[in-house]
Symmetry: C2
Subunit: 782 residues, 2 copies
């Protein structure tokens, strides 16, 4: 990065005297004010600090250099206006019809994938556990361990290889990336078809390999990928374009689709349609409209219907080992509805524990991720090796811990059921003599979903020993932490629910005699508290858990425990997803403004002079501006003789300039040729490409004589960019920027008689790192 920048720097200086317009050149230094993605590295005075930061960021988020901001501004240039005026009424109907069709398709697709995912996992993991049960019954303990470890290793290696070699973006939960996308940050290939492919299969193999990971986060990412794929309008490469889909070739409509996709993902993962909508609203989306609420709701309703239909099909035993399980749905209907003061105390205790453990979890995840990123950046092979070692560790824990645990005598009332012989159930006879069972084996040697179900079961006769719960909690807590961040698709919900439910049940066993709650309800509240402490969502988690457990009567308890754990944890650090977004170096725009931003004004953070273009500009200058800067937007200034005094004509985008240059509508003289260009191009030519980066400046071939010709930028100039006055506080400008989802915000001078634009603010200019880089003395914490 630094090399490139230095080169650019030298080149700029080299051409200064030749064909670069002097007005622009005079103040042209080594600093760019607008350069999405690369912004962090190219301000010379800050270079040292930045470099440190960059390297740290690059460690964690491999794709930091490939970030592109999204633009939700309404572009008002002549070409688009002409297109809009000529739009027929039928096209509006087409658009509305398509919007709903796509929502339907997203729902169908995500529901189907979600079901298949569960089907595959249940069958693979079920087969594995069945074999192990058989081997254990024959007292072949070593063979059982070898089989378990090998199975896990093979599955883990496949998942890791897919992730490391095909789509590195598919590793991890995916929720932070989707969240960042919906905030306006398009990280490279985060929603690409290859990512979708790896996410689906990697998640199946990863979960089946017995890792302490969930399939819920990956389902959200999968839903978003499906939505993105459907909204791309086919592929030009394979000539699969369809005229109608061009309406969706913009950031705004894609954002809506991907919001629907994220909601559908949660709905499919938890069978929680309302929870899905709320998740999209509370955690994923940065902008929201009530029209979108309705569409999202439709999508998740479709998911719910698809899942119901497919599960009804499986009820007849058509789906192998799938049975009734898979999609988690814990029925704890027998829970008490009365409560006393002691129960409220229990809720407070659980909430506080959840908050403390939750923030500790986030802290440790952060540390582990930083260590892992050092390993992961050494190459795909190292990624696979890391996965293999964690797989071996997991196998050892899940087989070894039960191996050394004592046996419990069977309760007399269950009769033949104990010790059980099947692959699931609570009375595993693992290594125990007749009449005894191993309670810890029924948690470790099963799928994560079954373990959660065992913990949440209400009936008190299936009690776990205190030591069992403690060991399981510790194992899940730490395995969850070391597993997140390895190169497989890994959700955080399941590890957190597992750990939370086990300490909830632990607390319930300890203080249960004072309370009306039973152990299952304690486990559920424990899971809620830990989820609240790590993820810091309240409403959506509450609804998801209610939908999972199908009991509305414990709603107030759930709300309280979530609120308490979130409040406690918020004192220590941020939610885990926010933390990961930050660590990946994604320039996330928060919805609130930090107080120190009120001490600065907009012009304070505008660094370096601007690269401006003239209304009718020499082609060579345009090419140079595109080549030498990373800017994505250039102010267009009309100057005499085109106007009486220099005036801000508007803002032109890099992508539009590239299309215009490719069209080669140049003139020998400096004349306005607007209508000519309007006839030559269609608005669709300037639409955002579906995938990939679209045209690059390197792709253009401009002849030497063309460089001396002129091109009229007026037809593609957005004539009404949002502007703020230079004396506006940075906080107020940030509100505008964030609320309207802008990519560029023009800063104009307060007093007349100066050049009509002071600078351009982009997402990076509002980031702490940038502001504090310029003003290190500012007290961020005030």
């Amino acid at each position: 990065m630094e090399g490139r920048e230095q080169k650019a720097n030298i080149e700029i200086e080299g051409v200064a005297a030749s064909n670069w317009r002097e007005a622009t050149m005079s103040g042209y230094g080594s600093e760019f004010s607008e350069n999405d993605g690369d912004a962090m590295m190219i301000r010379v005075p800050l270079l040292k600090k930045r470099t440190n930061q960059t390297s740290q960021l690059a460690i964690v988020g491999a794709n930091v250099s490939a970030i592109e901001s999204l633009d939700y501004e309404i572009l008002e240039n002549e070409l688009f206006k002409q297109d809009w005026r000529s739009r027929k009424k039928v096209e509006i109907f087409q658009y509305v019809f398509l919007k709903w069709t796509l929502a339907l398709l997203i729902g169908l697709g995500t529901g189907f994938v979600g079901f298949c995912n569960n089907l595959a996992v249940e069958n693979i993991a079920g087969f594995k556990h069945l074999q192990i049960s058989q081997l254990v019954l024959q007292d072949k303990y070593f063979q059982a361990f070898a089989f378990l470890a090998c199975c896990n290793l093979v599955l883990a290696t496949i998942a890791a290889a897919l992730c490391a070699y095909i789509a590195p973006a598919a590793a991890g939960s995916g929720i932070p990336e989707v969240k960042a996308y919906l905030n306006g940050i398009d990280a490279y290939s985060i929603l690409a078809p290859s990512t979708l492919f790896v996410k689906i299969f990697g998640s199946i193999f990863g979960v089946a390999a017995g890792f302490v990971v969930g399939k819920e986060g990956p389902m959200v990412h999968t839903g978003a990928c499906i939505a993105s794929l459907l909204g791309q309008g086919g592929s030009r490469k394979y000539h699969l374009t369809w005229k109608w889909l061009r309406y969706f070739k913009n950031d705004r409509d894609r954002r809506d689709l991907i919001t629907c996709g994220a909601a559908a993902g949660v709905a499919a993962a938890f069978r929680a349609p309302v929870g899905g909508v709320l998740f999209a609203l509370e955690e994923a989306a940065s902008w929201w409209r009530s029209a979108l609420l309705w569409r999202t709701f439709f999508t998740t309703a479709v998911v719910a219907v698809v899942l119901r239909t497919l599960m009804a099909f499986c009820r007849n035993g058509n789906c192998g080992l799938f049975g009734e399980g898979g999609l988690i749905m814990f029925d704890v209907n027998e829970a008490t509805t009365k409560y006393s003061a002691a129960d409220l105390l229990a809720i407070v205790i659980l909430g506080i524990i959840g908050g403390v453990f939750g923030s500790l979890y986030n802290y440790l995840v952060d540390k582990v991720l930083r260590i892992y990123s050092i390993i992961n950046e050494r190459g795909p092979m190292f990624k696979v090796l890391l996965v293999i070692s964690i797989s071996l560790l997991t196998s050892c824990c899940s087989y070894g811990l039960p191996f050394f645990a004592p046996c419990t005598p069977c309760p007399p009332e269950v009769g033949d059921e104990c010790p059980g012989k099947g692959r699931s159930g609570n009375y595993k006879n693992f290594r125990c003599p007749a009449g005894y069972y191993s309670d810890i084996a029924s948690l470790f040697l099963t799928t994560n979903d079954d373990a959660i179900r065992s913990l949440l079961i209400s009936s008190s006769e299936k009690d776990f020993q205190l030591s069992t719960l403690f060991v399981f909690f510790v194992a899940m807590f730490f395995l969850g932490i070391v597993t997140y961040g390895i190169a497989i698709p890994s959700g955080l919900f399941i590890p957190v629910i597992l750990a939370g439910a086990s300490y909830g049940r632990l607390v319930g066993t300890l203080i249960g005699s004072f309370c009306d709650f039973d152990a299952g309800l304690f486990a559920l509240l424990g899971a809620a508290s830990f989820l609240g402490g790590t993820m810091r969502m309240t409403v959506s988690l509450c609804v998801i858990l209610l939908e999972l457990t199908n009991d509305l009567l414990m709603l107030p308890f759930m709300m309280l425990v979530l609120l308490i754990s979130k409040s406690v944890a918020d004192n220590f650090n941020e939610g885990v997803y926010d933390q990961i977004v930050k660590m990946k170096g994604l320039p996330f725009m928060e919805s609130h403004v930090d107080p120190y931003m009120r001490q600065l004004v907009a012009s304070d953070v505008v660094t370096g002079p601007l690269v401006t273009l003239s209304g009718v500009e020499k082609v060579g200058n345009v090419v140079l501006a595109l080549r030498l800067t990373g800017h994505n937007g250039f102010p267009v200034i009309d100057e005499p003789p085109l106007s009486d005094a220099p005036e801000l004509c508007g803002l032109v985008l890099r992508s539009h300039l590239l299309v215009l240059l490719k069209g080669k509508k140049f003139t020998k003289q400096r004349v306005v040729t607007g209508s000519d260009i309007l006839g030559r191009f269609k608005a669709f030519d300037f639409a955002k490409p579906g995938s990939g980066k679209g045209l690059k400046i390197e792709d253009l071939v401009i002849e030497e004589e063309e460089m001396e010709m002129y091109v009229d930028l007026h037809p593609i100039t957005n004539t009404s960019p949002y502007t703020v006055v230079e004396t506006m506080s940075l906080a107020k400008a940030a509100v505008l920027f964030r609320e309207l989802g802008l990519r560029h915000l023009c800063v104009v001078p307060k007093t007349p008689g100066r050049p009509p634009i002071v600078g351009i603010l982009t997402r990076h200019d509002f980031m702490h790192e940038h502001v504090l880089g310029i003003y290190p003395h500012l007290n961020v914490h005030k």
Copy 2:
């Protein structure tokens, strides 16, 4: 209105040559561009059209002239900046602490009021029905009717008198007004303490009087009033101010509180905490942040806990006739979870019926409201008379229709229960011989809540006859329509649920044999479809109904039926609340922009020249500007010698000017006295008053010689108002205005060298009526 305006007009012209600054005066005509509230009447070219409209609006919304816009813009003037800089860290903690304390108090208050409301209604209505049962058992049919009619009449008259004489704003549902408030429209006394008082007691008496009205809408309004009262920071009149509460003396924090209040209202009305949050989000609020989601959620959780505790107290029989009833909670847990294709068809049928009936309902409500408003505007006495006649009609229907209905033989399996003798139950023996019962009496001669419960009961043995269901549906449909709009607090939820459940059960009885659903589920889906058809909410209704019925398994059906009925009904007209907001003449800013707005630019709708002030202005000019215009914001222009060329210094608010004038910090010479003024005033002096209108220009006494002195406006001028360029399309400007919740939006010229401001846009300038008044040729429906 017209008289006043004409006077203003003449006066302006009269003073033109004397003490009014020429620059301002030269272009001063008869049109004001910025005048919240009065805007609709004072543009001369449009006078005729406007007058018609105004009179029409005035009929419906009595308070249309008392509307004030709210302002959510961050004001950056020197005084506020100074205040902000001196703010200590402890004050931020105070603020956060208070925010949560207020949320807690709102929850406690609303929960308590909601419970008391139900307690009172159940006891009053229960006593009434008990007496009637006794009289009927003694065959005293006429006495029973007389008793019923008298009871209803007395209760209705009390409710109407409260409404008509004390707080007219308490009539109706209140949801449209709360919705408008949260959109930035403060209608006169809509959240005043007197309104709260009347809303609570009027609702109790109205519901107890047997009207086909609910207590749910009024609960939302009650919650909002409680929130507003708590957020006002005491009362200066009674010396109950408390320093801490000054943080809430602004529109933004009040908006948050009232959002919490609205959510708490729904939570208290339906015992649906999650539904309450979603209602606030989907229907009530226009702006939303995720921080607010959390706070709202806390408030509704508190409501849920309060209700549970109080109901647990009542379970021992401490609450008279309250028993287990009151707060509706329908348990239809036995409903089937299987479904077939025929069931999906039934859902589609119900959805379509709901959509058609829903839009018809809205249409009729609209018409009836227009007729009623003619009666209501004749005076409070007419309001009371209207209520009395509707009360008599209701009494006749609810007693007369069962009177002429045939009897049904008791089913043998229920034994002694039929005919029942109590005040509730499904086997009323009203007028029937032994061994027979009147099924229609069990719907009409009971409270609305009990009727809903009867309809939603799943067990099929308690079937209603087709004719009964039909008669009940028709009666509820039309009584609901004629009752809304009379001068009592009247919710729309209950009438709609009653009508919907009866046609749902009707459809179920007709086609039930093809389906797996039972009649109770049909009734529930019917209620959902009708709610969807009238109110057009989806997610929140779905969750509210789920929380009411406590069965999550029918979620997908409910979602589908709501989506279908909403989609069908949206083809005909708007949701009932939107319709009422429009009819009341409240300038509601929609979240979407109409396509025709893209054909106009911002300067197109700026009408009439501007009243501007100078940075240091003659007191007389300021007073004149305040007296002669209704404007609430004035641009401040710095002119030579204060600056080199005329430059836009910012925007000053009427309320701030009034406070400044009252302080009388005037100077003899035209000099900048900023720091002097900064020392004289505190930011709190300029805070928005709690209730009432604050200072008025008529309250100020300015001596003749003071009029010739100067006042420095700089310290109170917002130096960074949001601006748009005059060539920005109206649609794009509307997005900015709406998203940021502005009150004033400055339009600046595109080209340099002109006066620095073209005009100011306010809420009214974006309204259809205004735009189409100027450009009648525009095709709104494109």
